[in-house]
Amino acid sequence: MSITPSPEHLNTDIALRDQLSSLQGLLVLSMVMTDSTDDHHIVHLAATTVGSLGDVRMCGIHLLDGGWQEATGPCQRSEIRADIEAQFVVLNSTGGALAIQGERWGWAYPLRSPQGHFGSLVVCADAEPDAHAQFLLRVLAQQTGIALANARLHGRERSSAEELRAANTALAETVSALERSTAIHDRLTRVALAGEGQQGIAQAVHELTDHAIAVEDRYGNLLAWVGPERPDSYPKQSVADRAAVLERARADGQPIADAGRLYAIASAGIDVLGALVLIDPEGTAGPHTRVAMEHGATVLAMELARLHSLAESELRLGGDLVEQLLAGTLDDTAAHARAHALGYDLERPHRVVAVGSIDATADHDAFFHAVRRAASGAGVGTLLAAGTGTVVVLSDADQDWNKFREAIDGEAASGACRVGVGGLCSRPAEYPRSFEEARLAVHLQEAVGSHATATTYEELGVYQLLAEVAHANGVEQFALRWLGPLLEYDDRRNAELVDSLSLYLECGRSLDVAAKALSVHRSTLKYRLQRIGEISGHDLGDPDTSFNMQLAIRAWHTLTALRSANR
């Protein structure tokens, strides 16, 4: 006997299985939502599921930290959303019935999980749904809350993991930078300790940076080069450009780029001693290269300071020796011993060279170093001493002294200078004499009012003869006999009759040439010569008179120079 179920019983069975199937579906949907890490996807799945759970309609999902999502139906209107939000305050996190304008039934299902309350699932219907549909909606809301909690936990873990990864990356970069910096420091420290000098520093920085490296002194002169494509003629900036670059580098306190080069200055306090230069025409130098340059410049500063201090000591000791030689306070044996101690060969014949600056206000120290550089560069000599307005060099080689003077002019910022060269000294005891001769040569240039030039004592001619006359009083009486009234007139009237006469006679008595040299009109000079004849009572047209007056003028100049040299 078979039992055929009644149609009512069959329909109940189908409805029950539909409900169970829905519940089964919700469980699978829950797995899908929990597997998602995207809030929007979870919310979308929940929102699109509502309609399949019974005769209910989706209104929207309100997240506490995200506002309304998937708002539809009545919740598309802002005033209804605001009204519902006001009801949330009363409902708190438990959910419950909602009064939704235009709807007969409304409900807020809380989106909850053990981690907290995330918001509400809001639905509406034309009539209150059956208990089963409401149960499914509650399950859907609960599963949505759990899925949201899971997604956020996952998001925080991912964020923490990313932060940790970023921190690890930053730490690794810092460690790597420190290791590179340590390697740079170690390499340059080895250079400094080994005393490899400027060349060693340039070599180390070249190896650390793969760029050609130049070491320059403060003036831009090349001291060392390591790397390819060394220029045949090293380019030198103008004084103004050089000063601007060094000042910018000093002010920035770090390497600066200029015209395809990276400059790192080597300084001691505010004094710039030199510069480390990285050749970088493509401008590719990165932070590690700059670190290597900064370290290199520090080591270079120590090296240049050491060399500077050494040079200062040598200069001071050399200066002391020169002063004693010129004063004649050393006997030959002591002088040779002192010179040997300084590594200097005094047994070669020398001349004393006196260099005087025309500019009385010139910086003595700067003028001294200009002479020192020129003397070193021209091979004139390395033993120097400084006096007031005059620098003395002991020279062991004959030179083109005017070229030496021009070299000094090129180095000195104070302008032109006069160079006087004394006679040859074959032994130390002769240095005072050569010194006097050199000074006389300089002072004679001053006395005759000549332009900047270089004069050797041997070239002084009659001046040399006059200077060597044993009785200077006789020379002075001779000069005054011929020039006395004119000198008195010049002194009283601050006039230039003697200088005008001197130039006229030195120019071979040519009115035109002398007037041009004096920068006066020809008729002015003619008038002055007439006055000279009247005041002196001498006839300039007489050859003997003319000769004696020219000799008297040279004698007077010699006396002036001698007095000046003896001051």
Partner: protein
């Protein structure tokens, strides 16, 4: 009889029975391939007839990816492997109808068993075509229910592939009700309460 024994789905520890109709959920094309390609390879290795419809790429691309020591050209020549595009099957003539699609399966699965003598047929369909705005796509859930009427007729397994990124919760719920089994995350879930085609139709009417 070979046609009545369980079959490997191609994934470790996952097997299916002849007459199974599965809904396989995935996220993105890589996960689709992780389900589809092992399923095909297992079938081709076992000598099963393999029929499939792809939508997000070309059949040739799938054939190229099957590989794994299988002579795909020989499988295609012997008609062991047949793949179609969705526009030549589900959306043939620019629309979807349940009856025509069931007929399509009858015309492909039936001869494979009756004429070509395959013991077992593996069918799969990538269902993303149903997201397009085409006539008849709204009958998708009802079609899936009708497939349950077709699947016991032959020694076969039908796997329907759904991308979770694209389908809403409502449709997923319907699919869960119309598929006796669900493949999700490498696990097969049975739905003992699923509704037969007639029951589903009566509930929805």
């Amino acid at each position: 009889m070979a046609g009545t024994s369980s079959r490997s789905l191609g994934m470790p520890g996952v097997s299916v029975e002849p007459g199974d109709h599965l809904c396989a959920f995935y996220t993105g094309q890589q996960e689709r391939d992780d389900v589809m390609l092992p399923y095909l390879r297992a079938g081709l290795h076992a000598g099963d007839k393999c029929l499939g419809i792809v939508d997000s790429n070309e059949p040739a691309s799938v054939m190229n990816d099957v590989g794994d020591g299988i002579d795909v050209d020989a499988c295609v020549e012997s008609h062991q492997l047949e793949l179609w595009k969705s526009t030549d099957s589900y959306l043939r003539d620019g629309k979807f109808t349940i009856d025509r699609m069931i007929e399509f399966w009858e015309e492909t699965v039936g001869p494979a068993v009756r004429v070509d003598g395959f013991d077992f047929v593996r069918v799969f369909g990538e269902m993303t075509w149903s997201l397009r705005d085409m006539p008849g796509v709204e009958y998708l859930a009802e079609y899936e229910s009708e497939v349950n009427r077709f699947v016991p007729k032959y020694p076969q397994v039908i796997v329907c592939l759904y991308d979770l990124r694209d389908f809403g919760g409502g449709l997923l719920m319907e699919l869960l009700k119309t598929h006796p089994k669900v493949l999700l995350g490498g696990l097969v879930f049975e739905n003992p309460h699923y509704l037969s085609p007639d029951e589903y139709r009566s509930v929805r009417s």
